[in-house]
């Protein structure tokens, strides 16, 4: 699904992603873990086609990407963003937000598809004509997921999809994401600073630091604490929580 080699991306003068190479197979869930400034969000935006200043070789969903300004996008790659309050247009109702991708690609039967999308993410029909400010954080994120899925993409990129949500809601959204992937055979690339979430949702994980992948390991290995690189070990230690000195 994804083949990247020597991928380098810049943010003005800084190099955010530095010679990163990796592959993601069809149907796989690939996680990228890193702290702030690691470049993981920039990497995701390059994969989405939203960030233009990059070089290297990149093939996504069978299409080779060319750096620089692209034209309109095909809809095969979709993204769920971190902030549920910023990822929906404040003046568009749920119905409009879900209907627009369909209208752009001239896909008919919009009403039925929208209803199906809402049901798939666990939202009631009553939410259909509400505006974002009338929905809770969890509900907005479900709408964002529905929007990402309505064009039936093959690859879904997830940028910290649950960090801005309450803990109980996080658990629900994660289980929703897991279920949807199983049902539709989607490929995920999940970016997060939270090791536990990445280990729970993904098959394979890459640890990113200052623009580079320092280690790639399976989620099972991560969960068992078998990391080789010292930075990964540091992250594992830190994510186990603080133990106070008594």
């Amino acid at each position: 699904m994804i083949e990247a080699s020597a991928l380098t991306a810049r943010f003005g003068a800084t190099t955010a992603v530095d010679q990163v190479s990796f592959t993601v197979a069809d149907g796989e869930a690939f996680g990228v873990v890193g702290e702030s400034g690691s470049g993981k969000s920039t990497l995701l935006r390059v994969l989405a086609g939203l960030h233009e200043d990059w070089s290297g070789r990149l093939v996504v969903a069978g299409a080779a990407r060319v750096a620089g300004r692209g034209g309109a996008m095909s809809g095969a790659v979709q993204m769920v963003f971190q902030d549920p309050y910023g990822s929906l247009h404040p003046r568009h109702s749920v119905d409009r937000a879900l209907g627009e991708p369909l209208a752009i690609h001239r896909i008919g039967d919009a009403a039925a598809r929208i209803a199906a999308a809402l049901a798939a993410v666990g939202l009631e029909r009553a939410q259909r004509f509400r505006y974002p400010h009338q929905l809770s954080g969890g509900q907005r994120q479900r709408v964002a997921i529905a929007r990402a899925l309505i064009l039936e993409p093959k690859l879904v990129l997830l940028d910290e999809p649950t960090s801005a949500l309450d803990v109980t809601v996080q658990a629900e959204i994660l289980s929703l994401l897991r279920r949807l992937r199983r049902e539709r055979g989607l490929t995920y690339v999940l970016v997060s600073h939270n090791l536990a979430i990445v280990a729970e949702l993904c098959d394979r994980v890459a640890v990113m630091r200052e623009g580079r992948f320092v280690e790639e390991l399976s989620a099972a290995a991560l969960a068992a604490g078998e990391a080789r690189h010292p930075y990964t070990q540091e992250l594992l230690r830190a994510s186990r929580g603080y133990r106070r000195q008594r």
């Binding site: 935006r45 989405a48 086609g49 939203l50 309109a72 996008m73 095909s74 809809g75 790659v77 979709q78 993204m79 963003f81 971190q82 902030d83 910023g86 990822s87 929906l88 247009h89 404040p90 003046r91 109702s93 119905d95 409009r96 627009e100 991708p101 752009i104 690609h105 009553a126 939410q127 004509f129 509400r130 505006y131 400010h133 964002a144 929007r147 990402a148 064009l151």
Partner: protein, 300 residues
């Protein structure tokens, strides 16, 4: 009761259709605005102004150009509520008909300058690069010249008259709207929902028209209503200099100009139109304040 039923429908928890949702939003904004006392005062003033303009033929007791030379420069009394001017015309009637001129100019100027400024600003902000730089330099050129002087120059070139005055003022008024729209666009451009629209395949035109412009609209509307006071004053200024409406069409600024000579003894000839201008400006200012407080997206 019907009103209660409407209210319930408009504040329903789960709107059943897109139309209901849109009306419910409008209703919410209206109620928020109704709570804002300054804004409501401004709205009332503006509505009275509009009513005066529309109903001028019914409310005026005399024709604005009717002269009865025995009654020159009469102070306000029971017959001529605001007195008569130097050509013995009833000032009250002239003010009413003058409201038409003033509102007409304001409407024309807004209709041209606001969409123009919004379009230029949003396009420049979203496109970036050379287009942005070019449009902004153009805006800077217009902004660097004092508005009244530029309007003067344009009217002098085009010839005096209401239409030309309105056109000149519109050409002078759009730059601040472009600036405001561009600033908003720059802030919105990096938003996640814009990224999501791009991922859905939306073209830049679609994004600017349907996603960005509606969000810039609020700021531009506020700016426009606050500017209207200035437009009224510039129109009065042009009229004062004889470059706006031509006699005998009543225009508040021209009325002040004509009344200048009599200011010491027959103060009402200049003061009444001056008061009208002040009240109209105040009304638009208060309305703008109310709109800004209600439409500010940060408060939602």
């Amino acid at each position: 009761m019907r009103a209660a039923a409407w209210h319930d429908w408009l504040t329903a928890e789960a709107p059943g259709s897109a139309r209901q949702a849109r009306l419910a939003e409008a209703y919410r904004l209206l109620r928020a605005f109704a709570r804002h006392r300054a804004g409501m005062t401004g709205l009332v003033i503006v509505l009275l102004l509009v009513a005066a303009a529309i109903l001028a033929p019914l409310l005026a007791r005399f024709s604005p150009s009717a002269q009865d030379l025995a009654l020159r420069l009469k102070p306000p009394d029971a017959v001529h509520w605001l007195g008569t001017d130097e050509l013995s015309r009833d000032i009250f009637s002239r003010l009413l008909y003058g409201a038409r001129v003033t509102l007409g100019i304001v409407a024309l100027v807004t209709a041209i300058s606001a969409p123009l400024g919004l379009a230029i600003g949003c396009t420049a902000g979203y496109a970036g690069g050379i287009l942005d730089a070019g449009l902004m330099r153009l805006t800077d050129v217009f902004l660097s010249l004092p508005r009244l002087i530029l309007a003067l120059a344009l009217v002098a070139a085009l010839g005096p008259g209401i239409g030309n005055a309105a056109l000149a003022m519109a050409l002078v008024a759009w730059p601040p709207y472009a600036r405001v729209a561009r600033a908003e666009t720059l802030a919105l451009r990096g938003s996640d929902f814009i990224a999501a629209a791009r991922l859905a395949g939306a073209s830049p035109a679609r994004i600017v028209l349907r996603h960005i412009m509606p969000l810039c609209l609020a700021s531009v509307i506020v700016r426009v209503s606050l500017d209207m006071a200035g437009v009224i004053l510039i129109a009065a200024g042009l009229g004062f200099l004889g470059l706006g409406a031509q006699p005998p069409t009543p225009e508040w600024g021209a009325m002040i100009a004509a009344g200048r000579r009599y200011m010491l003894d027959q103060w009402w000839v200049a003061a009444m139109p001056g008061l009208a201008i002040a009240v109209a400006s105040l009304g638009f200012n208060l309305l703008g304040d109310g709109l800004r407080d209600v439409l500010d997206p940060k408060q939602r």
